[in-house]
Symmetry: C2
């Protein structure tokens, strides 16, 4: 979780100016319902793996304006003029008192499906936005990429190696996202400490170069780590490196790492050498700008690689390097009337009202389609043998925790089950081309009617 979790200042200024505005306009008692979702999946994606949701609940529980925060804001233009004693007192006593509904972290999601629903006095609902989007956009981006890598690896192990390619704090959470999506471990030591994730390490080229010969480097490493020796063998010549590694460690060699060259061809050659030299037990780990496509190709070619180390492409999600999660007002209750809401600016329309997503599965839990419905209309009528699962459930009610925080292992198990239950076409790694490549998300008849009504009123309001 970010170090700024629970901090009221880790936000966009306009959340605070609008909060001051609602306060001075006497709108504190208005109750807003907002939903977090993506309007469209990133172009190369057929699904997203929603992560970061539990941290939103933690943030809301912890959210306070400290005396230091308030003193800073009291001098900050343009907020300064609105920092009256009454508003300062409001901020001092601020607690999140609303309801938070969430889908379970580690759930596969699609476009227009709410991942989070916040129903709270309007100031509280407003100031959630920026931090919740930061959490969810970043972790879901990394986790969704990681899920694709895991699918590509087809049961072989994947390890997260990306710390050096992203912000040092983001790296710790990226390691968590990768593990949640099915990676077996990370190289990041802080992630191991914070989240209990298995941590893996080999050696770098510098170790080899710091010794007079490659053999001396291997022998030296083996002396210090006799039961966990994984040697990097591509510093000079990979097959020769494999031979030396096998001869130094024999049946105690844990593994070798390849980090350059034609990984598939080298893995075959290295496997042969290791087996011939009495190191048949040694695993082969490959790294070097790998992504889901190069891993799928290596797996398809039958390359004898046991573990893939994935860094840059994962933590920066290179083919889809941003995620456009949004947080939108869907209902407003001003004390007189409770109205479904939506905005219909150019190219940015969404469904109006408070939503629930029903995931329709067969009796074995395989996903068939999702139905997006108004929250109060209940599950759709189904054909025999099908089941409807409501995805959103309460986490905080009146600011108090209703549902326990999932452990990382629970989230990881849920991700694995989600991925396994996806239709094969949605697990395909190629960018979707036609509607056949897209998971069906169907709005209910009532949702369409209400959205049309809201659109008509919206256009009239704007006139």
């Amino acid at each position: 979780m970010p170090s700024t979790l629970g901090s009221a200042l880790a936000t966009d200024l306009y959340q605070l100016t609008m909060a001051a505005g609602y306060f001075h306009r006497g709108m504190q008692a208005h109750v807003a319902t907002c939903e977090l979702f993506v309007r469209r999946l990133p172009k190369p994606r057929r699904f997203l793996l929603a992560l970061g949701l539990d941290d939103v609940a933690r943030h809301l529980e912890a959210l306070r304006f400290t005396a230091e925060d308030i003193a800073f804001l009291a001098e900050l233009p343009p907020l300064k003029s609105a920092m009256t004693p009454a508003f300062q007192a409001y901020l001092r006593d601020f607690r999140f008192t609303g309801d938070l509904w969430s889908i379970p972290e580690g759930t596969v999601v699609f476009e227009n499906e709410p991942w989070l629903r916040v129903r709270a006095p309007i100031i509280e609902a407003q100031i959630v936005e920026t931090f919740a989007l930061s959490l969810v956009n970043h972790l879901t981006m990394v986790g969704s990429k990681a899920a694709r890598v895991v699918l590509a690896a087809g049961g072989r192990a994947c390890v997260e190696f990306g710390t050096r390619r992203t912000h040092a704090d983001a790296a710790v959470d990226a390691a968590r996202a990768a593990y949640a999506a099915g990676f077996v471990g990370t190289s990041n030591v802080e992630a191991a400490r914070r989240f209990g994730i298995p941590v893996l390490g080999t050696a770098a080229h510098m170790w080899t170069m710091a010794h007079a010969t490659e053999e001396e480097a291997f022998r030296g490493y083996f002396e210090v780590f006799p039961s966990s020796t994984i040697l990097l063998i591509d510093t000079y010549n990979t097959p020769r490196g494999a031979m030396r590694a096998a001869r130094v460690c024999r049946e105690r060699l844990r593994g070798v790492r390849l980090d350059s060259g034609d990984l598939g061809a080298l893995a075959r050659e290295v496997r042969g050498i290791l087996d011939a030299e009495g190191a048949g037990q040694a695993k082969i780990l490959a790294s070097g700008d790998l992504n889901e496509h190069s891993i799928a190709a290596l797996v398809a070619s039958g390359a004898p690689i046991d573990t893939f180390g994935v860094g840059t492409e994962l933590v920066c999600s290179v083919d889809a390097p941003s995620l456009g999660g949004v947080y939108k007002l869907v209902e407003l209750d001003d004390g007189r009337e409770r109205r479904p809401m939506a905005k219909f600016s150019e190219g940015k329309g969404s469904f109006a009202g408070v939503h629930q997503t029903y995931r329709i599965t067969d009796a074995d839990g395989r996903f068939d389609r999702d139905v997006l419905a108004l929250d109060d209309e209940g599950p759709p009528t189904l054909a025999g043998g099908q089941l409807a699962h409501a995805l959103l459930a309460p986490v905080l009610v009146g600011g108090s925790r209703r549902a326990p925080v999932s452990s990382l292992d629970e989230i990881r198990a849920r991700s694995a089950a989600s991925l396994a239950a996806l239709p094969a076409v949605i697990r395909d790694l190629a960018p979707p081309q036609t509607n056949e490549d897209r998971y069906p998300v169907e709005p209910s008849a009532r949702l369409r009617i209400v959205t049309d009504e809201v659109r008509r009123r919206f256009v009239a309001d704007g006139a």
Copy 2:
């Protein structure tokens, strides 16, 4: 700066296993020199703006293994077996005692030019790697994108709006990077507090929708913030929004924001409305997935936009979403001999030995070319009227600070001067196609000779 700054565990495990290895092999007194650089610029980039360097020095000054860190590592496989009392004592007393040389933060850099040089006992030099790369890769990626946006804006103001699209901690540092590169401010309140960056805010669609009418929303905002009203006018219909904003605030309207539609055409129409309705002083701010290319097009078309708000494309550096900075051993002194080093694995060659970069300028400071030389050979011989500027200078010597930390304003001024001194072709925003589009970086004759010698020895060592 990341919350993990100074933490010894914010690293890849293999840095610690190698450290233990050097320790148990009795190599503590070997002195390694490592350099941080990029082998190649990202494809769409003609230059990089180096940022994050001062935080590396801060990290090295603060770097400690706490008792808690050591206790954790003592139980962590595979390090556990190497955590002898002697090594634990070494970690307990660990301080960075080496030398750090750096180019000034906010310097424009090119391929193969060292940004940082660490000369230290090998364990210290080794464990710097991961954290230094995290800092420098992330901030330089964002800062380099920001510099392009600033160039595209041609003197118009740019504001950083990306917090919701990146990790919450990374967002604070991204705001700093954007400001260093020439942005005028950020929406991130924590960045304002931590770095003193000007913070800007407008209002969101939710403010408008939470009121019965757009006019009521505008009037309400104006009442609370009479001297800083910037209104978002695209919720319903942008020209009507402009009219309403002008009529509500008249000569006190600070600005309006456009966030959708054809920004150029709308800006023209809105400018006309504001001027006709007595709000000629009001500025127009445009936002909505802007990048350097769309901004350059808007500027070229003469669109009357005063300020550009840039978020996603900036903080995720969408067209070049990772930066491949590396940290490589360039010299090793094992007490008997001091040898220049380099690695020549497939496609990954670099220059051997300890380097200095000389930036060759004319008398007015305009950049002509860079010369990459061995550190001990001094500046190149130049034609009349040219000057050679050595880019690397000592920051820490024997672990103690030699050079003061630059203020953010100093870094910002340096960035501006760097960008202004670039040849016009290097400031061009199109991806480089030919060598004419690339800034000349020339290795010295001696550097080539030494690198060839090291390559021959390297191949022989590997035999």
